[in-house]
Symmetry: C2
Subunit: 196 residues, 2 copies
């Protein structure tokens, strides 16, 4: 059986550490200590802390893409219900962590985008890609007459994903589901209101 | 003429540094170096980095309260227009920084609330206080029949402030006004739609 790669162990430890103390607050030393790896093994696998954080972010987005597919790809439900299902699915994941962790993409957007041009461009590309399946689902809901067509599906998708980040931000401060529930209730009775 | 207090200089430097590298990524050494102050003067004035960050946050919220009053207190405009004016006023401030800085309250909410219980409780109190003038303005707009009364004014105020944080988050990644403009357009034609 192949030995589990130290590279993977270091990436896992990095994700946990950066969730806790952010990009700036996490040192290579913190990560290798948490991974139980010698510091030299970090430099064997990663060019810099910035390049490492970029890989952590990519792995995290891979996980998010799986959740997006799980919620939006099941065509047995109507599109508006699938949008809602995504937010409910995320809510369940956040509840598992006691509402102490939000989304690494949002965390890095506020904390790292100002000082790392590499991460900022990567985050920009992530948001653009993230929007695509949501815009498709929203366009489908509009075509079916489930929701209003006053706004472009791309614009509504960006609005949804950004506002949801705001709800998670408030959730982290309150350590409760309240802001998530509020967002879902209000957004789905106004912006994404079901047409009669 | 009294000498400008080193305490104030250190607080100003701390605000700038924490905007750039966050709570975890800013050391006392960074702050004193930026303030041109000996490190000992920091410990003369502040108990710990956490206590210092708490004062920085309080000073920042004092500034925000001024902007809230500037936008919402002028009763010559109708309440719905005053809400919109707040977002436009903030947009102007963010444009002055080239959309590279957002809101320290949002930054700390994501980055510091998980590790500092002191800051988390302070942020929670800030959001509760911040909501009050917005809820009053929204309730006034509802009483005048300017906007719908389907939701409680407190809930709408929390929704507005949280979603606006999400728009600023996306703005920081894109370094453009787009997410702010999108939020204002969509929110004021749906959630805060003017009734006929």
């Amino acid at each position: 059986m192949p030995k589990p790669s130290l590279r993977e162990t270091i990436l896992d430890a990095g994700l946990k550490a950066m969730f806790r103390t952010g990009y700036h607050g996490t040192s290579v030393r913190d990560v290798t200590a948490a991974a139980g790896a010698p510091q030299g093994s970090f430099t064997n696998h990663f060019r810099s802390k910035e390049a490492f954080a970029s890989e952590v972010l990519d792995r995290y987005f891979l996980y998010v893409r799986g959740l997006v597919a799980e919620a939006l790809d099941d065509r047995s439900a109507p599109p508006r219900a699938r949008l809602r299902r995504y937010l409910d699915l995320i809510t369940g994941k956040l509840a598992n962590d006691g509402f102490t962790r939000g989304c690494l993409i949002g965390d890095f957007s506020l904390e790292a985008s100002g000082s790392s041009e590499l991460l900022r461009e990567q985050l920009d590309a992530i948001f653009r890609e993230w929007r695509v399946p949501f815009a498709a689902c929203i366009a489908e809901a509009q075509a079916k007459g489930e929701i209003a067509s006053d706004f472009d599906a791309d614009e509504l998708a960006d609005f949804l994903l950004a506002s949801w980040q705001g709800a998670m931000l408030r959730m982290k401060v309150e350590r409760s589901e309240a802001a998530l529930a509020r967002f879902k209730t209000i957004a789905f009775q106004t912006v994404f209101k079901e047409l009669p």
